[in-house]
């Protein structure tokens, strides 16, 4: 399972490095969103600083959704996924590999995004370790649910994935935003229950994904 997962993740990251779809399309898109927020809130720094956590996470969620869609598109090209299935490749390995690749890609995006927000919205980052840890957990949570649901909606039109995914991961948005809020306010102790919930969410769906992904591939 882990050998397959590593091969899968390496393959996805290599493909991303060569095609640079996320780098060339998603990253600029994320900055478009930042600019839109600035316009929408009349570039009032006090407001923008206040809404930084929410802004960061809403933007990241859109980025995650695009990354998940891209991860599935890779397998759809030339029907590579049928090849994987027909060779009896371990579905758990496929699942874990996809999750790892998406999380790593999104972490890069988050670093750039948070730096951009810190500079453009004049919103200094505190408790970076806490912010990073919660980002990692939230990304794992969204990626696991996202890969499963992307399999469920595969070939059924692009608008179905966000419709199914976003309500399911809404608690992640809530928790991650709260953790960031407390992190930025320098009151990290308050973030503990929210972080626990993030851990719970990610673990539960990681297990669910590992258990059901074989069935998803067969469907």
């Amino acid at each position: 399972m882990f050998r397959t997962a590593v091969a899968m993740a390496k393959k996805d990251l290599r493909l991303e490095w060569r095609a640079r779809v996320l780098l060339n399309q998603v990253l600029p898109f994320v900055f478009v969103v930042i600019v839109l927020f600035a316009f929408g809130f009349d570039a009032k720094v006090e407001i923008l600083t206040q809404v930084t956590p929410g802004l960061f996470w809403v933007t990241t969620f859109f980025g995650l959704e695009l990354a998940i869609t891209r991860a599935m598109a890779i397998e759809g090209e030339n029907q590579a996924q049928v090849g994987l299935v027909m060779m009896g490749v371990n579905p758990r390995g496929i699942f874990l590999g996809k999750v790892v690749a998406i999380v790593l890609e999104i972490l890069v995006l988050e670093v750039v995004l948070s730096a951009g927000i810190a500079v453009l919205f004049n919103s200094p980052l505190h408790d970076v370790a806490l912010l990073a840890a919660s980002a990692l957990l939230a990304d794992v949570g969204v990626a696991t649910v996202g890969i499963v649901l992307a399999g469920v909606t595969e070939g059924l039109g692009g608008s179905l994935l966000p419709l199914l995914l976003f309500p399911v991961v809404s608690p992640v948005l809530l928790c991650a935003t709260k953790v960031w809020q407390y992190g930025l306010d320098q009151t990290p102790a308050k973030a503990i229950p929210w972080s626990e919930l993030l851990i719970g969410f990610s673990l539960i769906y990681l297990v669910v994904g590992i258990l059901v992904y074989g069935v998803v591939l067969e469907g």
Partner: protein, 222 residues
């Protein structure tokens, strides 16, 4: 599994019906294949050849009738069966932005098969090292097909499902491929090939089916 003059029965279909949406791609189809056989399935487009192969690989499900591959139901025991089945499909099933070699490497690790065998097959089919190291995206249709064929032929499986192998390939490669099928059958494997090319079929086949309208008719048997 039944013994017969032809050897062990590997594939047995009785009255299998496969619906693709509302369309019966296979309609009460009977089909047999034995050990050490090269079975050719001929028939016009849309007669159900591809669906037959997909059914044997457990990619589609029979709505009625019985399907046995190695005496087991390929849909219910898909993963067990697929370790014994290679499938060379119409689609290339490769990643565009990896080179041919990287594709082979990836599938070798993921599917647990031998990389050297796969590269040997690719070379035997006439792929130069330069082509192997070029991105899949820039290769010609024939070259792409060779890479897909290399992985399918190098897997150590007992049943080979081959869909339209001759399309896109040049004469020399077709001959090598056919030789590969004969070798596989001699080694005790079962090769089921769907193809239009009747001349090639007659030369190699130990058993021939003609498909039309989702039904297979046995044309000749040894």
């Amino acid at each position: 599994m039944t013994e017969s003059p032809n050897g062990r029965l590997v594939v047995r279909l009785r009255g299998a019906t496969v619906m693709l949406d509302r369309f019966p791609a296979l309609a009460r189809c009977d089909f047999d294949a034995y050990e050490s056989e090269v079975v050719f399935v001929q028939g016009p487009n849309g007669s159900g050849k591809t669906t037959l192969l997909r059914l044997l690989g457990g990619l589609v499900e029979a709505m009625s009738g019985s399907v046995l591959v190695f005496g087991r139901d390929p849909k219910a025991e898909a993963r067990a069966i697929r370790r014994e089945v290679s499938y060379l499909a119409h689609s290339y099933q490769m990643y565009e932005d990896l080179s041919g070699r990287e594709n082979l490497e990836f599938f070798a690790v993921a599917a647990g098969c031998d990389l050297d065998d796969a590269i040997e097959w690719a070379q035997r089919l006439g792929l130069a090292t330069r082509d192997l190291d070029a991105r899949f995206r820039v290769l010609s249709a024939g070259q792409r097909k060779k890479i897909s064929a290399a992985i399918a032929l190098s897997r150590r499986t007992e049943l080979l499902l081959i869909d339209e192998p001759h399309a896109l390939l040049d004469q020399a490669t077709k001959a090598i491929l056919d030789l590969g099928f004969t070798e596989a059958a001699r080694a005790g494997k079962t090769v089921i090939v769907a193809s239009h090319e009747l001349d090639r079929i007659s030369a190699l086949a130990t058993r021939r089916y003609r498909m039309s309208n989702g039904f297979a008719t046995l044309v000749e048997s040894p």
